[in-house]
Each structure stands twice: as C-alpha cells, then as structure tokens.
Amino acid sequence: MSLTAAGPPPMDLRTVPLPGHMALGWALVIATLALVGFRVPAADVKIGESYLIFFFHFPSAINCLNLFFFAGLASMYHLWRRTPGSDLWAASAVEVGVLSCVVTLVTGSIWAKAAWGEWWVVSDPRLMSVAIMFLTYLGYLALRSAVEEPLKRARFSAVFGSIAMLNIFVVYFSVRIFPVENHPMKVELVDSSMRLTQWFGAGAFLVLYTAFWRLRFRLLCAREEVERLDVEISAVRP
C-alpha cells in the first residue's frame, strides 16, 4: 500500500498531531489522579495512606524501563543501519527516560521514608540498580554534549546506548537474584480497583511520556538542522 494512495498508516506515531497527543496524555494523568482520589481504598492495611504514591511510582518506573529499552534498540539499529533518525530517537528516549527515572526515584524515596522510615536504603538492590541506571544515562547525555561532530556523536552515543541497555536487565533481575524482605517483587493489590488504577496509570504515563519523547525528537531534529545549516553557511561565507 503506497502512502500517497491511502495515506500514512493510522498507528504511525509521527502522524498524530503533537498538541493533541500531549493534551491526551495530561488528561489521562489527571484521570489517574481522580481514580486514586475516588476509586481505590484510601489506606493499605500494612503501610497506610503512603501506598497511594505507588500509583505514580509504578507507571514512571515501568515507562522509564520502556524508554531506555527503546533507546537501546534504536542505538543498535543505528549501529546497523546508520540512519540519523535512529540516533535522534535514541537520544530523545534517553532524555525522557531520565525524566521518568527522576520521578521514579523521588516518589520511591518518599514512599521509602513513609514505609520504612528511611529516604534511602543502601541494601535494597532495586533502589540501587535504578539509581545506577539513572547515573549511567546521565553519562550518556554528558557524552552527547562532549562530542561536537554529529556523525561521531551519533556513533559514540549508539555504542554507549547499547552497553547501557544491560542496566535494564540488572534492574529487572536485581530483586530476583538478591531477594530482600522490604522491596516488594510483586506488589499485592488485592482490590480490582487498585489493579485497574495501576495499569490505567501506566497507560496514562505512557501516552504522556511518548508525547514528551516526540517533542524532544522534533527539537533534536531542529537542532541538527541548525548545526548543518551553520556548517554550510560557514563554508560559503568569504
């Protein structure tokens, strides 16, 4: 099916208008807030009201892993095909992934203080592995800002993005290899409204973060174009 005859495929993310995508993301996040406020039980029998932050902690955590995973795939694709778009998709995914990782760490830390009495528990493998992943991807952004030549920047970022992807598996397997008493491997949400809110929130944040991702991708494309034009102007200027 040709694009000119039938138009672009309906599920192609690039064809969805960005303002509408962004508005939908925010609306769904507000709907998640409403679900947390009015649908789920106000307090858990074990840890009280503080469990409510889970409905924001979990969506950010799972989407942060998703974004870093896509960044890793795009990096490997760039090393294979050398398409400039794949590098920019990877870079923008890392930027938004770092944002969601900050949300995960902050909400996790607040929850830890309420549930365990400590802001930071060094013996918790999942807490530590997420923090390590966050620092690794901050390094990715530092690497991009340190290399000026676009082709070299894309190549180096793709190599580092591919190595950094190993972190996702470290995070995933950390509590399975080193089980601890405090961090739940699987949160027990007994009420169906809790499970609904958990996955509705995950979907809502996914829509919002993909809107951010597209926005950052457009900005990076524009920045690359400005850099290219700058080089061309410098070449013809007497």
Partner: protein, 236 residues
C-alpha cells in the same frame, strides 16, 4: 592460531613501550599510594576487624583499585592517539576486535601489577593480616579488574577523542556501570578481609564462589559486548 599470534604481538608491543616509557604502571601505583595514604589519616590508629580500619578499609581498597585503574585506562588510548598508533592499526588488515582483546589483556596486566602493589600498601597502612585469603583476594582483584577494563577500553577509545575533558568523561561513563560489580565485591569482602564492612548495611555477605560466578558472568558479557562494539568506535 594466526589470531593468537597477532594478539600476542600487540600485547608485546604495548608492554615493551610501557617498559621504555614507564608512564602508566608507576603513575597508577603512585595514585593508589596517595589515595590509601589520605584515607588512612581519617580512620584513626585502631586496627583489627572491629575497628574503623576494618569496617571501611576494604571499601577504600576497592575504590582505590578502581580509581587507579582508570588512570591506566585513560593512558591506554591517549598514547595511541599521540603516537598515531591508531592510524597504523586502522590502515592494517588486522581485526579490530583482536586489537581490543590485546588492549584489554595489556591493560589488565598493568592493573594487576598495580592491584598487587595496592594490597601491599594497604596491608601496611590498614593493618591487613588475613594472609590466608591472599589467593582469593588476588582472584577477586583479577575478575573485578577485568570487568571494568573490558568496558573501560571501549569507553577510553571514545573519550580519548573528545579533547580536554576526556579523562573526566571516562570516569563519568565508567563508574556508574561498575557499581554493581563494586557492590558484589564489597559484599564478599567481609569473607575475604575477615571484617564487618559498613556495619553490615550492604546486606548479608556473599560466599566467594558465588561472587566469582557472578563476576565472571559480568566479565564475559562485557568482553563480548566490547569485542562487538569496539570496531564501531574506531571506524571513521
């Protein structure tokens, strides 16, 4: 067989150059000495498993091995770029993956010399006396060093071409990726150094055999990733 000869030739070339210039191993050892010397000033005169030296000494030791090792890693490629050795490698028909393995082996040998010297300095400054575990500690140093060198050589090849901030950037990229192996090493160090580290805050100690299995798994993954990705870094 030809590949092994090529790797051996590159290692020999690297070692001969280091023996002539003496600018990597002595600098690493000096750096390790300085870090351990400064660290021991803050822990007081008491020695033994229950003292501050026993509780935080092994932490300083492993951090010293990691930090001093990055001095060697940073030199590994800055020397190549200064002498245009990379240009020669790139124009030769040699497999860049083999060049990577040779570079890892040479740097690993330098770091092992530094680690052994660091253990000697540590035993003097921190009162280390568990000599019965010497073999296990050297084995732990070997697998620990191999993990960060396997990744570090790839990262050093990248950062050496970024100009003035290359050494800082190398550390920024390398250290977060090494935290899992540092954490594993610290958790097994209670058995190796016969001391309770950080008041047991890191969790229960890991048996040395489990540590070696996990560390070797990290080493293998990092070496395979490095072998595959290193040629992508150097191609122009």
């Amino acid at each position: 067989m030809r590949s092994i000869r090529l790797v051996a030739a590159i290692i020999r070339w690297d070692v001969i150059r280091e023996m002539r210039r003496r600018d990597t191993v002595p600098n690493m050892i000096l750096f390790a000495l300085l870090v351990l010397f400064v660290a021991q000033m803050g822990i007081g005169p008491d020695r033994g498993p229950e003292s501050a030296a026993g509780r935080v000494g092994p932490v300083f030791f492993w951090i010293t091995v990691l930090f001093a090792g990055t001095v060697g890693l940073a030199r590994a490629f800055s020397v190549e770029r200064e002498s245009d050795g990379l240009g020669a490698i790139l124009t030769s028909p040699a497999d860049l993956g083999l060049f990577y393995l040779a570079k890892v082996a040479a740097t690993w040998a330098y770091v092992m010399v530094m680690s052994a010297a660091a253990l000697g300095i540590y035993s003097v400054l921190f009162g280390f006396s568990a000599w019965g575990k010497l073999g296990l500690i050297l084995g732990a140093e070997a697998v620990f060093s191999l993990a960060y060198i396997a990744v570090g050589v790839v990262l050093a090849a990248m950062t050496s071409s970024t100009g003035g901030a290359s050494e800082v950037l190398l550390r920024i990229l390398l250290f977060p990726m090494m935290i899992p192996i540092v954490w594993l090493t610290l958790r097994t160090s209670e058995r190796l150094f016969e001391a309770e580290i950080a008041g047991g805050a890191l969790g229960p100690p890991i048996r040395p055999m489990h540590f070696f299995a996990a560390a070797l798994a990290f080493d293998t993954i990092y070496l395979c990733a490095g072998y595959l990705l290193f040629p992508k870094v150097l191609e122009e």
